[in-house]
């Protein structure tokens, strides 16, 4: 299996552990990920506020680059905001051919043409649906039996474009987590929003949103995420969340592929747990103490 890969800005910098673990997990599963060369920002939430056209041209530039390589290959996006922007533009040009013409008039300066053909899927979708739980389980060298994981999808992973899961009560992560051997802790904020840029612009409101999610995960050893924005917000403001909730919150926030890499027995330079602001190491040490000694 071969996919085109759009990492997006965060995965290439502050969420490098997400990119590294995703690449390694795909390799282990025998799938090829080819990064789209010369990709640029999808426009995030800012481009469409600047102008409608810019909000479509920036995603389209990347989709055009992907079509140039092979329009039949699926593009995998690991950031839910990038994923949503691509889907949004794809849906808009399918509805409105005049918009597609306008987008292509803009892309002329980049010598690119967007045909509206490239297919984009979320990494969550691909991990849940292109690999069976048995396939994933077959690569598990270290079942994470002693780990309680709270799944968290966030909003744009499943809304408004969720051809692969329910947009209110998603479940696609469960078979993957189950294959890793973890204990899953379900909660009622799995598809709630992390607050995105509100943490930067209206911090009080944003921290309240993060607090609701983290409060729902009380008792878990860590959270599994599939979006760099969710991960950053859930991890970065726990001191402020502790004040809101009146109790100390100290929950490691991991990317799902990091947990897969850990279970697959991949090395530390793939999992990169040392990069987390809320350290995962204490949980790892506890797991090592309680794990049955492997018979070699």
């Amino acid at each position: 299996m071969k996919y085109l890969f759009y990492p997006g800005c965060s995965m290439d910098t502050s969420a490098l552990e997400y990119k590294r673990s995703t690449a390694a997990v795909f390799e282990t599963l025998g799938a090829e990920l080819e990064e789209i060369p010369d990709w640029t920002c999808c426009g995030a939430s800012a481009a469409s506020v600047a102008s409608d056209l810019l909000g479509h041209v920036l995603p389209a530039r990347n989709l055009a680059l992907a079509e140039q390589i092979d329009e039949d290959l699926t593009i995998v996006a690991g950031c839910s905001a990038c994923y949503t922007n691509f889907r949004r533009t794809q849906a808009a040009v399918t509805r409105d051919r005049a918009l597609l013409d306008q987008v292509n008039r803009a892309l002329e300066v980049e010598e690119l043409t967007y045909k509206g053909k490239a297919q984009v899927r979320h990494l969550m979708d691909v991990l849940a649906n292109d690999f069976s739980p048995e396939e994933i389980r077959a690569h598990v060298k270290r079942p994470l039996e002693d780990l309680v994981v709270a799944p968290y999808y966030g909003c744009q992973t499943v809304r408004p474009f969720s051809p692969y899961d329910d947009d209110q009560a998603p479940t696609s992560m469960l078979p993957v987590l189950d294959a890793l051997g973890v204990t899953i802790q379900r909660h009622n904020r799995e598809a709630s929003c992390c607050g995105t840029s509100l943490l930067m612009t209206k911090q009080e409101a944003g921290v309240r949103m993060v607090a609701e999610v983290l409060d729902a995960c009380e008792g878990a050893d860590c959270m599994a995420t599939v979006c760099p924005m969710c991960q950053l917000n859930m991890e970065g403001y726990q001191d402020k969340v502790s004040k809101v909730l009146g109790r100390r919150v100290n929950l490691p926030i991991l990317f799902l592929p990091q947990l897969m890499a850990l279970a697959f027995g991949l090395p530390d330079d793939v999992t990169m747990f040392e990069r987390h602001m809320v350290p995962f190491k204490p949980v790892l040490s506890r797991m090592e103490r309680t794990a049955p000694v492997a018979a070699n």
């Binding site: 800012a46 995105t196 509100l198 612009t201 309240r208 990069r275």
Partner: protein, 192 residues
């Protein structure tokens, strides 16, 4: 500006074309039946000065100033919960983006911080093609209220310590500048 509980519609200046200024999506607002599903679904509604349900009614009524001066749209985090749940099928989240566009034109002090965020991000995209996190933060602090930076000192320091972000000088353009593309989009929008 505080919004009174009762708005005297005979005294307010109203623009009946307001919904139609919010793009193709906005013209669907006439379908709204004021059921309140949007407000009930919104994770930030508590912090808003006008609830989403009330705001959509005010848009229908053409209360341009009251709506655009409010902070409601700036508290939208684009979670799409109201849009996917709207029983009338109105693309509410998409319409919020158009409200932000119109509000940006007014350059209000009350939304200065949110606007600074979007402008700083657009500047970095334009110059480098990709986000450069540290430079974006610095630009955001400088364009908005620089004191905001203090809220991020501890987090920024931890991120640097863990190697998640690195100090950046605004020089390395890596040949991916989107200057030409941004200019071209501006030209095409001026034509339209």
């Amino acid at each position: 500006m505080a919004i009174p509980d009762v708005i005297d519609l005979t005294k307010s200046g109203r623009d009946p074309t307001f919904p139609h200024r919010l793009g193709a999506d906005g013209s669907m607002l006439h379908r709204c039946i004021q059921c309140g599903t949007c407000t009930a679904s919104c994770p930030a509604s508590e912090a808003m000065d006008i609830s989403p349900r009330r705001m959509w009614r005010m848009v229908q009524l053409g209360l341009v100033d009251e709506v655009l001066d409010s902070k409601t749209m700036w508290l939208c985090s684009l979670c799409y919960q109201c849009q996917v749940r709207c029983p009338r099928g109105i693309p509410l989240t998409e319409t919020i983006t158009h409200l932000k566009q119109l509000a940006m034109e007014r350059e209000l002090v009350s939304s200065h911080q949110s606007e600074a965020f979007y402008k700083a991000f657009a500047d970095v995209m334009r110059r480098y093609g990709r986000n450069r996190e540290m430079e974006f933060m610095v630009r955001y602090f400088l364009q908005g209220n620089p004191l905001t930076a203090f809220k991020f000192v501890r987090m920024g320091a931890t991120m640097m310590m863990r190697g998640k972000v690195h100090p950046e000088l605004p020089v390395d353009r890596e040949g991916r500048s989107l200057e030409k593309l941004f200019e071209r989009v501006a030209e095409l929008e001026a034509e339209a």
